[in-house]
């Protein structure tokens, strides 16, 4: 940063110009962001296309495996994992549009702009919410697997939760659906979200507070509480599966902290700036843009990595995948472990014990 000469106004004695003499203070000047824009033009499409490829391959595989396994009775975790894969796949499908728009401008018109932005927003929110659902499911599964635990829940409730999550995501995507515009600036058309100018400061303030609560504190709180309780239960448990299950939890939490938290924090600071109507120097503003860009890329990468973190770590998924790859999608009859095991199997639901007899391919 800072390669661009930010011309400081010098009020030197050499000047006989009116321009220099009428004021003793520097005047606010236009902030040129040429260098950040150049970086963004290279960084953003490459991240988008990489995540799109990863996301389509990984989540496509998750969905194909599920369809091939044709399992009807499912645990809440696997239902929500499937929904997460659907959300991430939809998100991945919008990314090539975004990359193309960043490279050569938006050429698909306002309607497509709204549709793609809405889909992007809805699937992003759905993915985040399903992550919180999965953490809650996992905790509930562990508690239920304990001898004194309550009875297992029906898949019906998990489906209901999924419907609610999608409706909420659509609601949250409404602004993107309504306010995205195909705007022109300096010859380049861009698809972007522009809030109506009539929005008052109080509305912005209220929405920012709600954003911090619902978009940051709530998912973070749910995940932190569930995984902390889960970790505590696992640490107190015994058995060979304990370490595996603990490893999965640590991987999930670490991925979330490394990939999602920086962006959430950057947005939090940016929102604080917006609300305080704080003035920043051009250099600070460019640093902030750069931080949002890079952390935003990381947050996007999380969506591409979800299949690896959530589905591929589950052993049942790997069994199904082997069957899919071997049998060309033909399922050899009903799976013996269609339901959550009732025994205290700590890595239950998403990761039942590995059945080594199935791995004949080596």
């Amino acid at each position: 940063m800072g390669t661009e000469p930010t011309e400081q106004i010098s009020w030197g004695p050499y000047s006989g110009d009116d321009e220099e003499t009428y004021s003793a203070e520097p005047l606010p000047e236009l902030c040129y962001k040429t260098d950040v824009q150049a970086f963004s033009r290279a960084f953003q499409p490459s991240v988008s296309l990489t995540v799109a490829a990863l996301g389509m391959a990984g989540n496509g595989l998750v969905l194909a495996t599920h369809l091939a396994a044709r399992r009807s009775a499912r645990s809440p975790t696997s239902i929500h994992l499937l929904q997460l894969a659907v959300a991430d796949l939809l998100l991945a499908l919008t990314l090539p549009f975004a990359a193309a728009g960043a490279l050569q401008g938006w050429s698909l018109g306002s309607f497509t702009c709204r549709a793609i932005s809405g889909l992007y927003s809805a699937s992003f929110h759905a993915g985040f919410l399903f992550l919180a659902c999965i953490s809650a499911d996992r905790y509930v599964a562990i508690v239920r697997a304990l001898p004194a635990g309550p009875r297992p829940s029906t898949p019906g409730r998990a489906h209901l939760v999924s419907v609610i999550v999608w409706l909420l995501s659509l609601l949250l995507a409404l602004p993107a659906l309504l306010f995205s515009r195909d705007g022109q600036r300096e010859g380049q058309r861009r698809c972007r979200l522009i809030f109506p100018e009539g929005l008052t400061q109080s509305v912005k303030g209220a929405s920012a507070v709600a954003q911090v609560i619902l978009g940051f504190a709530l998912p973070l709180g749910v995940m932190a509480a569930c995984y902390a309780l889960l970790g505590r239960t696992l640490l107190a448990a015994r058995g060979p599966e304990r370490r595996r299950a603990l490893r999965v939890v640590v991987a999930l939490v670490a991925a979330f902290v490394v990939l999602q938290l920086p962006y959430s924090l950057a947005l939090l600071l940016d929102t604080a700036d917006l609300l305080a109507a704080r003035e920043r120097s051009c250099l600070a503003s460019k640093r902030k843009d750069l931080a949002l860009l890079v952390t935003g890329g990381l947050a996007l990468a999380r969506c591409g990595l979800n299949p690896v973190l959530y589905a591929f770590l589950g052993l049942r998924f790997r069994q199904d995948l082997r069957r899919l790859l071997r049998g060309g999608g033909c399922s050899p009859g009903p799976h013996p472990r269609g339901r959550c095991p009732r025994r205290p199997r700590l890595s239950s639901c998403s990761a039942p014990t590995e059945n080594h007899s199935l791995s004949r391919d080596h």
Partner: protein
């Protein structure tokens, strides 16, 4: 805005800002970060353009290009800004007529 609508609308807008804008973390545009409150002398200005919210800027501004090529940010809703703009439009129309 009705007091009951505001929180609802706010709730609708909220999580939007937590998701990356389509295509990039945010729109990185050349914008004014603030505008001058003191009038700029009109004789140092040779050109102007608008950079508004619809251009992806948070602070709507009129950007005046000075004789020395600096780009000064002015508020679009001030009468002195309007006067300079009118003057610039008049002179540019005059020069066009002369050149044609």
């Amino acid at each position: 805005m009705a007091p009951r609508v505001a929180p609802l609308l706010a709730l609708g807008l909220l999580l939007l800002w937590t998701s990356p804008a389509l295509g990039s973390a945010n729109d990185i545009e050349d914008c004014c970060l603030s505008v001058t409150q003191r009038p700029i002398p009109r004789n140092i200005v040779r050109d102007f353009r608008y950079l508004l919210i619809k251009d992806g800027c948070r602070v709507p501004a009129v950007v005046f290009t000075t004789l020395r090529g600096r780009q000064l940010c002015a508020p679009p809703d001030q009468p002195w800004v309007d006067r300079i703009i009118r003057r610039l439009q008049k002179t540019s129309a005059k020069s066009k007529r002369q050149s044609s």
